[in-house]
């Protein structure tokens, strides 16, 4: 335990326990991610994506009051515009949090929310410049730049001190099929950067937990790198004297790697960083064994004015529409898929509707407001529209994950968690039930998000660069015009949004 060459190592504040589902085999699993100072996350759990430290449209007070977000993903590229010429202000923020974290204080993140810091956004804008052996190509609000690995590592402690630090990974964004030579480089760099990070943590300390990258390559292709993660475990489980410790978790860029992970890594929590474009992609990752996932489709739907309405498990029995249609035969019922959400732009459906965005939803938006208001706000170009939809969509997603955990926990099955008799039979049954519900979800719901007739909020900051994000879900101005049908030109929207040049127009 004692380590003469560095500060005394306190027990990791982050711990992960697998409650159901197996550590040794792949497949969906139920777990608990606990942190001494933060919320406990029951996994699988949703991590909210942020932009410049906020969930788009959600002010910090709304975050506290009306969301149940337990963890956020923050990208350092959102904070380092003028580095290295100028020290990013976020490093300098005086802080009184415990453990001390300038990231938390600067972004006014609640004390209980788990913070995850990564170098780049979830769907990073590919840079025209490649990564180098000592830096990552990043995109800041003032343009493309390079983030040196040394800077990233030294930013983590003692200043930013996130709860989880995603180790830098050499991923050539925009190049889905890197050459063999490039792959070797990816592995070399990612491995050596991780070693740098581990050493620095051993030297400087820091309360953050390191999540090592699992690259978006076939597992065979990164076998030696993954094996190298294990080198340390042979010692005492805390790594060798050089500060070379087993990572606290894995940041997985392609969930299909999960089933082939080396055995000794399987008990680690898995943060899935593959951008999910639909709930069924989330289910896919969860089915493979993802514990924490992000869902960029959430903000994409919000910006399109779409209120998500899906549930997991999917509703049972006939839908209200087919019920009224008494002569509908079962075959037709099967063929009729249900939408994942509803576009609040639709005037005939919503202009006069005092119904909540989703029946039975208890979120702030659904409890206090109705569809008619949100529709009006969208049509009027009022920013509150997107805030209200985002609050609801976050709640919808939280509910979805609760449902997933319910099924994995054997809800309605007598419960596997306390079942005790364990072993393949019971676990097999839960896995089977999950797969059954997953299939039913995909039968019930459409694959794609509904089409939105309206315009999106004007792109600004990262999204306003006009480059579009890698997932194609950019909120660019151009896109808004394309979808706008000429109803609201840039200036018209500017009346509501007025923050940039177009917003100078007087009311």
């Amino acid at each position: 335990m004692s380590d003469p060459s560095g500060p005394e190592r306190s027990p990791d504040p982050l711990r992960f326990t697998i409650l159901a589902g197996s550590a040794s085999t792949s497949g969906p699993r139920l777990g608990l991610l606990t942190h001494d100072a933060r919320n406990t996350l029951e996994t699988p759990h949703y991590i909210a994506d942020t932009s410049r430290g906020v969930i788009p449209h959600i002010t910090q007070d709304t975050f506290r009051r009306h969301t149940d977000v337990k963890g956020v993903y923050v990208a350092l590229e959102d904070f380092v515009e003028k580095a290295p010429l100028k020290t990013p202000p976020i490093y300098l923020q005086p802080t009184t949090t415990s453990p001390s974290s300038t990231l938390r204080t600067f972004t006014a993140l609640p004390d209980t929310t788990l913070s995850i810091l990564a170098p780049r956004r979830l769907s990073p804008i590919p840079s025209p410049n490649p990564n180098s052996s000592s830096s990552l190509a990043i995109c800041t609000s003032v343009g493309f730049s390079a983030l040196s690995i040394a800077t990233y590592i030294s930013a983590a402690a003692p200043s930013l001190n996130p709860d989880i630090l995603v180790a830098p990974a050499d991923i050539p964004h925009g190049n889905p099929a890197p050459s063999l030579k490039r792959r070797v480089k990816m592995l070399d760099r990612t491995a050596s950067w991780l070693t740098d990070l581990q050493r620095a943590k051993g030297r400087v300390g820091g309360d953050y937990a390191v999540f090592a990258a699992v690259l978006p390559l076939p597992v065979e292709a990164q076998r030696w790198y993954l094996d190298s993660l294990l080198d340390a475990v042979t010692d005492d489980g805390h790594g060798d004297g050089e500060g070379h410790a087993l990572p606290a978790g894995l940041a997985i860029y392609d969930p299909s790697a999960i089933p082939a992970l080396p055995q000794p890594l399987t008990h680690l929590p898995r943060l899935c960083l593959a951008p999910a474009h639909s709930p069924s992609q989330l289910l896919h990752s969860i089915a493979l064994g993802a514990d924490l996932t992000l869902a960029p489709f959430l903000s994409t739907a919000t910006d399109a004015g779409i209120a998500l309405t899906f549930t997991f498990p999917a509703p049972r029995g006939a839908s209200p529409e087919s019920k009224s249609d008494s002569e509908s035969d079962s075959q037709q019922q099967q063929a009729e898929k249900h939408p994942l959400g509803t576009s609040l732009w639709n005037p005939t459906a919503h202009a006069l509707s005092t119904a909540p965005l989703q029946a039975g939803c208890a979120c702030y938006t659904c409890a206090r407001h109705h569809r008619a208001y949100v529709h009006h706000l969208l049509a009027a170009g009022e920013m509150l529209a997107w805030t209200l939809v985002q609050v609801h969509n976050l709640a919808c997603l939280e509910g979805f994950f609760r449902g997933v955990r319910g099924v994995l926990g054997g809800e309605g099955e007598g419960g596997i968690v306390d079942g005790g008799e364990g072993e393949g039979g019971m676990e097999g049954r839960v896995k089977g039930r999950f797969e059954e519900e997953r299939a039913r979800f995909e039968d019930w719901y459409e694959v794609e998000m509904p089409v939105s007739e309206g315009v999106r909020p004007r792109g600004r900051g990262y999204m306003g660069l006009g480059l579009g994000s890698a997932d194609g879900g950019g909120r660019g101005r151009g896109k808004g015009k394309l979808n706008g049908g000429g109803k609201w030109k840039g200036g018209g929207l500017g009346m509501g949004m007025g923050m940039g040049k177009g917003g100078m127009r007087r009311l």
């Binding site: 430290g53 007070d61 004390d111 049509a379 009022e382 990262y462 923050m499």
Partner: protein, 407 residues
């Protein structure tokens, strides 16, 4: 005429014409003097009604013309009015069209045409014509269900040199008030305010005030101002009008919003104000503070880790230890123009500032210490430099017995 409000005069400043009062409206009491933020289309620029509530606001504005276009009268009728549309449990005041937008339409877009019948607008959205008659404006406001509704008036820019047209507009506004009163279907639940016109001509203002007062509306507005006229001319009009108004009715000066305008207008005897400026300027990264406007998009603030305003009790500025968010200037700088959340945070701060400024003014009036309040306000605003106090402020306050330079 019938009134759906109670006006309780609580205190009058023994030096200036400032008043403190309670205005009890159908959706609850509001303290006067008061600043009313402008939620033109039924939302205050990204704030939830709950967040607006939290700034202390209990009376905000909606715009009749805008709500008449979207969501439209049918929708408003179906939903049961604008309170239900926006789930706002407190008071609403509807202006028919705010003066500013009318000036813009008249002078810039040539979109409005005034006849004895009413004002013909072309929708800025799609060019559809809309004839706003006094009757239609009242019918719309009855559908909206606002606690205070405004008459349709004929507004001429105060800077217009055409005195004949200004006089015509004044008399027409009086005739339109009569039509509004006749058309008003819910006087027992909605208060109709008249609007005094007459440009910068004090004689016209006197005549108009007399005519309007005779019609005995529950409250009285002074309109047609803040259209770019000189501040001293503005002050003379407000001073003249309030001098002729009865004590027992609320007085609303339309379109006024800079902090210095508010405190001077209160000294001149006005009670209610509205302006889009605090919320609009927030979207440009400007914070309203007692030391003046801070443009937080300026790189000078990028490493300023103090709160937007020291000691401010808005949710953004209050430290975490006191249940606030502990937002810093540096973080607003970080968000400004890049994430709308930055604008929302500043909007909350600015609205809170305006409301709390009026709250402090009210307290000072009740303590009969308004002159001292004024001195303190201008001392902070101009950093103890008397030479920076504008002449119009000095003159206007001297007119009500305060020598602002003697601090």
């Amino acid at each position: 005429m019938h009134s759906a409000l109670q006006f309780e005069l609580l205190a009058k400043c023994s030096v200036t014409k400032a008043r403190a009062a309670n205005l009890i409206l159908p959706h609850g009491p509001v303290p006067l003097p008061i600043f009313m933020p402008v939620a033109t289309q039924g939302s205050l620029k990204g704030l939830t009604p709950e967040q607006l509530e939290e700034t202390g606001c209990r009376l905000c504005l909606n715009n009749t013309y805008h709500l008449g276009l979207k969501p439209g009268q049918e929708t408003l009728d179906a939903l049961g009015g604008a309170h239900k549309l926006q789930s706002w449990p407190h008071n609403l005041l509807t202006v028919v069209t705010n003066a500013e937008s009318r000036f813009q339409m008249v002078s810039l877009l040539k979109l409005a045409q005034v006849t004895e019948d009413g004002v013909r607008f072309l929708s800025p959205h799609d060019g559809t014509p809309m004839l706003l008659t006094p009757e239609h404006s009242i019918s719309l406001q009855n559908s909206i269900g606002s606690d205070i509704m405004m008459q349709l008036d004929d507004v001429i820019a105060t800077t217009s040199p055409d005195l004949a047209r200004i006089e015509e507009a004044m008399w027409r506004s009086i005739r339109w008030l009569d039509r509004c009163i006749t058309a008003h279907k819910k006087p027992e639940s909605q208060n109709l305010f008249c609007i005094i016109q007459g440009g910068l001509d004090l004689e016209l203002r006197r005549i108009c005030t007399e005519e309007m007062v005779a019609r005995d509306t529950p409250g009285i507005a002074i309109g047609g101002l803040s259209g770019g006229e000189a501040k001293d001319a503005y002050c003379r009009v407000v001073d003249t009008c309030t001098g002729l108004l009865p004590d027992n009715k609320p007085r609303y000066v339309m379109g006024v919003g800079y902090p210095e305008d508010l405190v001077v207008s209160v000294a001149l005897g006005a009670d209610m104000f509205d302006c889009v400026w605090p919320t609009r300027t927030a979207r440009f990264g400007n914070a309203v503070t007692s030391a003046g406007i801070l443009n937080l998009r300026n790189a000078a603030y990028s490493e300023d880790f103090s709160s937007i305003e020291e000691g401010c009790t808005c949710i953004c500025c209050k430290p975490l230890s006191e249940g606030g968010l502990g937002i810093t200037r540096a973080y607003i700088y970080h968000l400004a123009a890049k994430e709308t959340v930055g604008a929302h945070l500043l909007t909350m701060h600015n609205v809170h500032y305006q409301l709390s400024l009026m709250g402090r003014a009210r307290q000072a009036i009740m303590d009969d210490a308004y002159p001292a309040f004024l001195k303190d306000f201008f001392r902070r605003l101009y950093d103890n430099d008397t030479s920076r106090v504008p002449t119009w402020v000095v003159d206007a306050l001297r007119g009500v017995g305060v020598n602002i330079l003697a601090w």
